[in-house]
Amino acid sequence: MRATKITALTAATLFSISLAACGSDDSDSGSSTPAAAPTMTSAAPMESSAAPAMTMENFGAGCAAVPTDPSNKGSFQAMAQEPVATAASGNPLLSTLVSAVKQAGLVDSLNSADGITVFAPTNDAFNKIPAADLKKVLADKKTLTDILTYHVVPGKLTPADLSGTHKTLEGKDLSVMGSGEDFKVDGSASVICGNVQTANANVYIIDSVLMPKS
């Protein structure tokens, strides 16, 4: 009889504890919230994308030309908060690229793409193209679109993934050679500032415009 009593008592106690725990209907597993860990610049209500810590560092001599004041729209900090086309439009080094992107009607596509890598030629890179040729390209939407989409690779490539052959959004492959902080794209364009974070893209700023091989 004693055994029964103890058993019953244990069971009863146990169950009352179990039930007390059940006031809980929490489903908040804090860490399950997606990428969007918000911080905020004082300039605008915006969301920062939580880029993996390992890939945060940008590199290259060209990075020195990027504004350092975080409140400047062209700074790395500000660019990290914005989708890529908006981010680039804040950067004075990329103004020719940005107007080309607008011309081709690719702003929304780039901004709302799910995670891409953009090889972004500087204004100087565009200046290497003879003025007449550049004007012609900017006027031809099909050619312009092909050239610009050739600068975009699906997925966010980290510096570690960068070397190799990548299928571009234009359809043809581009090749990246190099390692560490020294990369060349298609054998000609050097990465002068790499691994710049934006909300939806990793950007590698390059010193020449790439041309899809015909």
Partner: protein, 490 residues
């Protein structure tokens, strides 16, 4: 008789250990996946609203403990029976525990917040309970010294269960006990059932809901000490505790909320089912003075959001929300209470972690974002977005479904049109909506031909206003322009 009691106790004890270990396991990951919680939640989901209302009326905030107590009692009876019958026909032990585990796992999987992990705690509970019962019953059946061995088993199992349960308690309490203990009363005015014909994605899961705020660390607010002060240009200052607030009639509504800093086609928009206290009666109770035209909501961390008084009194469902998609607000979405104003961007009407409402005028006070140049009153602009296909997609030639959302909260969307390569605008099909306060899902079948194409979308709201083509940046009053994406048809 004695044997019967002993076998029944073995069953209950084994089930208790299974449940306790499962709770400990769930507490480390997903407390809502614990078996009893999952079953209780599934029962609440399946309960018709009138019954829920009855339960809340009769039981008050005790409705959840009573429900879970009942679930526990049924489980205990089942486990006791399993102990008794399993002793005679041992095969019943695995069969019974599998049935219990399957019931818990099914309940967990049918919850709105379910993930692949959800059934695991229930299955774990069943496995442990089954093995424990098998072992206890074998002890009973041993020819010699069975009473002593059984007692040892009881102490061992009981001790393990108490330890596991204590661990689970400790974990859930530190992880978020205060939030989990908040009992949500049933709404006195439930949301309309989601209309049939709605496509997946109409409701945004809480975990995927955008979050834009200035808080570097998410404020952790103790609901027991939280108060809401309504003061300023009022006859009588009001001070309410969370219990005071929850005792008032609650409304439940599907409402789309979006952020002013969203780019054209951007992701900072979502629709949730919100539960909250309508603001208008509270303001009237406080005796707001007619010259007050601005509500300044203050959060616990000092954020100020300025909302026009008119938007709380014009009949829209402006509320102090306490729950989102059937659970207390997540900490990052403003637990315990946030404001919600249909038709206004978040920066103008949706203060999170709100603790103070000051009635004042726009002339007298600039809220945080207005001080930084953002426009007031923050009325949502008519807009639309293409979600399918994705930018740069390569669909095959032939029929391609183009789909997305359009929104103009309070006004409602009357038309959505698509243009391919700048050609004529063609009307998309609009899916049904519960009210003008939510986005509208739309779809259109495109007879796609090979080559690169651009797709643009525009919406028309009930005032006849067609979404403007003119591009504007989010600053200072919200982005405009028609979402245009490029795809290559192969």
């Amino acid at each position: 008789m004695r044997d019967l009691l002993r076998d029944a106790a073995a069953g209950v004890l084994a089930a208790g250990l299974g449940i306790a270990v499962a709770e400990l396991f769930a507490a480390t990951t997903r407390p809502d996946a614990a078996p009893l919680i999952a079953v209780g939640g599934a029962i609440i989901d399946a309960t018709p609203t009138p019954v829920k209302e009855f339960a809340v009326r009769e039981l008050g905030t005790n409705d959840k403990p009573v429900l879970l107590g009942s679930v526990g009692l049924v489980l205990a009876l089942f486990a006791a029976a399993l102990g008794v019958l399993g002793r005679r026909r041992r095969i019943l032990v695995p069969i019974g525990t599998v049935v219990l585990g399957a019931a818990g796992a099914t309940a967990a999987l049918t919850r709105p917040t379910a993930s692949a992990f959800s059934p695991v705690p229930s299955l774990l509970a069943a496995a442990i309970a089954g093995a424990t019962l098998w072992w206890l019953l074998r002890t009973v059946d041993q020819p010699t010294g069975n009473r002593r061995a059984f007692l040892r088993g009881v102490v061992l199992v009981g001790g393990a269960a108490v330890l596991a349960e204590a661990g689970a308690q400790l974990l859930t309490r530190t992880v978020g006990r205060v939030r989990t203990d908040l009992a949500l009363p049933a709404p006195s005015s439930p949301a309309k059932p989601v209309p049939t014909g709605i496509a997946p994605g109409f409701t945004t899961p809480s975990a995927d809901f955008y979050r834009v705020d200035t808080a570097l660390t998410v404020p952790r607010v103790d609901p027991d000490t939280w108060t809401l002060r309504i003061h300023g240009m009022v006859g009588t200052e009001l001070k309410l505790s969370l219990d005071d607030l929850l005792r008032r009639p609650l409304i439940e509504r599907d409402i789309t909320l979006n952020c002013v800093s969203n780019e054209v086609g951007g992701p900072y928009i979502g629709t949730a089912r919100w539960l909250g206290v309508p603001l208008a009666p509270l303001l009237r109770e406080a005796g707001l003075r007619p010259e007050a035209d601005q509500i300044v909501a203050r959060s616990v961390e000092g954020m100020t959001i300025g909302t026009p008084v008119a938007t709380a009194l014009d009949g829209r469902d402006t509320m102090l929300a306490v729950a989102m998609n059937g659970e207390p607000l997540r900490p990052e979405h403003g637990f315990p209470v946030r404001m919600l104003t249909p038709g206004l961007y978040g920066y103008a009407g949706a203060c999170k972690w709100v603790t103070e409402l000051e009635l004042t005028t726009f002339a007298k006070f600039d809220a945080y974002w207005v001080e930084r140049g953002w426009a007031r009153p923050g009325t949502v602009k008519t807009a639309s977005r293409i979600d399918k296909p994705r930018p740069f997609a390569r669909p095959a030639a032939g029929p391609v479904t183009v789909a997305g959302v359009a929104w103009a909260q309070r006004r409602g969307i009357t038309k959505v049109e698509i243009s391919v390569d700048g050609g004529t605008w063609q009307a998309a099909e609009l899916l049904p909506v519960p009210s003008t306060d939510t986005w509208v899902q739309w779809r259109w079948t495109w007879n796609a031909t090979a080559g690169p194409h651009s797709l643009s979308v525009r919406a028309t709201d009930s005032t006849g206003q067609v979404q403007t083509e003119a591009r504007a940046t989010p600053f200072p009053s919200g982005a405009t322009g028609r979402h245009t994406i490029t795809v290559t048809v192969e």
